[in-house]
Subunit: 172 residues, 3 copies
């Protein structure tokens, strides 16, 4: 597609598709598994290192892996989308930090989320995902405690992004 | 919000809000403290690890911390915004590299900038910010010198992003 | 530019300019050198650590450096653009992971791609680029093998982002 063929409709589609990937990461990092599930169509398929299966099977597989960690941060970057009507190929770079593992402490992995997205009834969601692993780095022994008290992330509804929403709703 | 309710006005708001966070990082990394200040409303509040106060107090607190370092890079990722008229909740992932500390050398921290943004007179800026710390990793002893001469960043008006602006203005 | 002066045309320009930087990274990481070349105008100039020259000279210089590695991941972040008609100054943060070097194993560098972009015949591309190096960290001895089989990246047309495109084309 040449640049001048782009349209505003394309921008809206791209943002809607990117939002799916963003919400997936919020769901994983905050352990909001219904949010994760909502990023896939009900018949969605997922492929990860060591896993191939349906979205339900994926949630059952990933949840205990997350819960043995203190926290994760799935930091997204490069987002390249190709639009084909109600289908799209979305590639998103991710650098994924995992800390507080009882045995190995911490590790970071680089991956690309390659997603076949489909729009059904106006809603973009994942039809099939490949989490393409690029590299894994051990951070064992390198994590250090914060130097002072301050804002910290939590899992579930007590995290600031959720409590702030309640506060803002009260202002409106 | 379902995808098909999104509008072009939303895209413009999201970009304007993201630009505030982008300019904040440029201001910190280039030590352009007036640029940092302009990202907050005059009565803006900031919460960091070890700090709670007004934007003026924040600048007084952060400036010497930055100046004892050789450099910083606040690399942003995931940007999720919820719009509520003239208020917005903006969450931005950040991986923040700090190098050249006289004692500990280098460290990297993962954080989320959770910002309550407000639009006043058409201008989005930070009303209240929480820098939610997720993890901190020591990089002591791991930084290495560049292998050859080439473009390097500086602080203040001598950095390329500023000098290039002058050059381009001369071409117009 | 105040926020309310932004227009939809600005959003389209910003996305088109960002896409140039995104395609550059895909080209480098997948070793699709024609894709890299297409990000520059034919008379484009590049400046890297240890290199200054034309886009053709750049490709001849960078290709063997990439080919002695197992892989690279140029993870982009902060993208700040200033538009000046058919010229634009684009700054993009990048954290660049390099692994599988025969001698030093792995290293990661932080850089800013500062690009003077020009639109010619409706197409934005790089007129002059400076890869401003910020920091370099040795990751020697820290990379670990994946814990199980799963999706992996490749170089060239066998990578998933290319094979998926063929599959999707077949569905249309």
């Amino acid at each position: 597609m040449s640049n001048d063929e782009r349209t505003v409709a394309d921008l809206l589609d791209r943002q809607a598709i990117h939002d799916v990937v963003l919400r997936y990461c919020r769901g994983i990092d905050r352990r909001d598994f219904e949010l994760v599930r909502s990023c896939y169509h009900p018949d969605g398929i997922d492929h990860h290192t060591g896993f191939d299966g349906s979205v339900d099977e994926y949630l059952a597989w990933v949840r205990p892996k997350l819960e043995e960690l203190e926290g994760t941060m799935h930091h997204l970057g490069n987002h390249l989308v190709e639009l084909y009507g109600d289908l799209a190929i979305s590639e998103t770079y991710a650098t994924n930090v995992h800390w507080g593992h009882p045995e190995i402490g911490a590790f970071t992995s680089g991956a690309r989320f390659v997603d076949l997205m489909e729009r059904r009834d106006g809603r973009w969601a994942i039809k099939e995902r490949w989490a393409v692993r690029e590299w894994t780095r051990s951070d064992t022994g390198r994590m250090i405690a914060p130097e002072a008290p301050g804002p910290r992330g939590t899992h579930g509804e007590s995290d600031l992004v959720y409590t702030l929403r309640e506060r803002v709703s009260g202002l409106l």
